[in-house]
């Protein structure tokens, strides 16, 4: 069942997770974790520019840019000791890639609850991903305001 509110990439990620057994969902999350891109240099050298997501159990920082074409660029970083948080960040970075402001803001806040990870990682942990999405959307709102 597809969710018409979801951008294509996020919908694809959701379907990929739901197609797997619980145990394999963790493995896929680990793959996402390993794929989290490194920060571009302008942020790697300036961690002060990044916003800390305090609701996550592990230190995770994010930064959002909105370019002149209103395309959103999301950057997330978390330490290697926090692969679950890295995985959450990676899903959002990949799932929101290339989207414009309206499409990012239209993503339902409960998307993290819909991808079949709640049981695999526990409800408490999935809240960290909801907080991450919420903060990305807030930054998009702030940075796209005229």
């Amino acid at each position: 069942m597809t969710d018409p509110r979801l951008p294509e990439a996020l919908e694809q990620i959701r379907e990929d997770f739901l197609a797997l057994e619980q145990r394999d969902r963790l493995q896929l999350l680990l793959e996402f974790s390993n794929e989290l891109p490194a920060l571009p240099e302008r942020y790697a050298d300036h961690p002060d520019l990044l916003e800390r997501v305090v609701e996550c159990q592990s230190p995770v920082f994010l930064f959002v840019e909105v370019d002149d074409a209103r395309i959103v660029h999301v950057f997330v970083t978390a330490p290697k000791e926090s692969p679950t948080t890295r995985g959450f960040g990676s899903i959002l970075v990949q799932g929101l890639y290339g989207l414009d402001v309206d499409a990012v803001l239209a993503v339902p806040q409960d998307y993290p609850l819909e991808i079949g990870l709640t049981e695999a990682v526990s409800p408490l942990r999935i809240r960290g991903m909801m907080a991450l999405l919420g903060r990305i959307q807030r930054q998009v709102r702030e940075k796209s305001a005229v």
Binding site: L26, S33, E55, C56, Q57, E81, P83, G87, A120, G128
Partner: protein
């Protein structure tokens, strides 16, 4: 079959040195028959990124907690879990994990509720193992399923419920949360998610000793003399006190329960796993705000 104890001199001053092993001991005992190494982390994926060879994973949320009721798994569930991990009733279990063994101590406490007799903590946990450049593998350990008996969980000796805490008021309580949580400025640890307590503060008369004070820079437990300074001189406990420790959901206080019970040898320490997420939402229980322990209202 009990695997030989770690004779590390630093442990001998502790009340129960048999509850700790060093990284060096573990490295030389890996593969010993009767020994099962368990990794228990805050991060549910950390084991998959690399773990000590032969270690099995037990997750605090997805394995040890009941998925519906706010409780731990029952005797049948524990039997099934441990059997599937290749753990027998007489196995020597060594638990280690991230965050200075915070979750490893929690797992150890749950093992204790089921009376597993030989369960030890790797002093220093993952961080020390890594700092020493010791190897990890990403090969998930496949255990042959064994029989673990169905044992009834003992919820009296090491565990306290809210009514036990109410009955205990006036006797020593240790609040192991951060000062911000104790004072009442916040209801969850700094940098941690909100876990839904409606009120903030602490249980009246509880002394605040953040759990991590029990560990040194390298993640190992502080020597006994320093622990005595912290808990006896600092928090006013006596060696024969009955104590209840609590935090937010009972994980950090498991670590303190371990230090008080096994390192300092207090005879009756219970962990209140309902902790602040329960107490801070209960109707009409007494709460104190501010940095002072406060007094009981009569």
């Amino acid at each position: 079959m009990t695997v030989e104890l770690d004779p590390t001199p630093a442990f001998t001053a502790f009340a129960h040195p048999e509850r700790l092993v060093s990284t060096e001991w573990l490295a030389t005992h890996l593969g010993t028959p009767g020994l099962v190494v368990v990794e228990s982390d805050e991060d549910v994926l950390l084991y998959e990124t690399g773990h000590i060879e032969g270690a099995v994973k037990i997750d605090w949320h997805t394995d040890l907690n009941d998925p519906v009721t706010r409780d731990y798994l029952d005797g049948a569930g524990f039997s099934k879990l441990l059997g599937s991990k290749g753990i027998e009733r007489d196995s020597t279990v060594v638990i280690y994990g991230d965050k200075t063994n915070w979750w490893a101590a929690y797992a150890l406490w749950v093992f204790t509720l089921f009376g597993h007799s030989d369960v030890r903590l790797l002093d220093g946990g993952r961080a020390k193992w890594e700092a020493e450049g010791r190897p990890y593998t990403t090969v998930t350990t496949v255990s042959a399923t064994v029989d673990y008996p169905i044992v009834e969980r003992d919820d009296v000796t090491e565990r306290a419920f809210r009514d036990d805490v109410l009955a205990h008021l006036g006797s020593p309580l240790i609040d192991v949360r951060s000062p911000e949580e104790y004072v009442g400025d916040r209801t969850s640890a700094p940098a941690y998610p909100e876990e839904g307590a409606l009120r903030s503060g602490h249980i009246p008369t509880a002394q605040n000793v953040p759990w991590a004070r029990a560990v040194a820079e390298d993640g190992t437990f502080r020597p006994r003399a320093e622990l005595e300074q912290i808990y006896f001189d600092g928090a006013g406990l006596h060696p024969d006190d009955e104590v209840i420790a609590y935090c937010r959901i009972g994980e950090r206080s498991s670590h303190t329960w371990f230090a008080l019970t096994h390192l300092l040898g207090l005879p009756n320490v219970r962990n209140y796993d309902g902790s602040w997420t329960e107490w801070g939402s209960l109707v009409r229980v007494p709460i104190v705000k501010g940095a002072e322990p406060g007094v009981l209202a009569h």
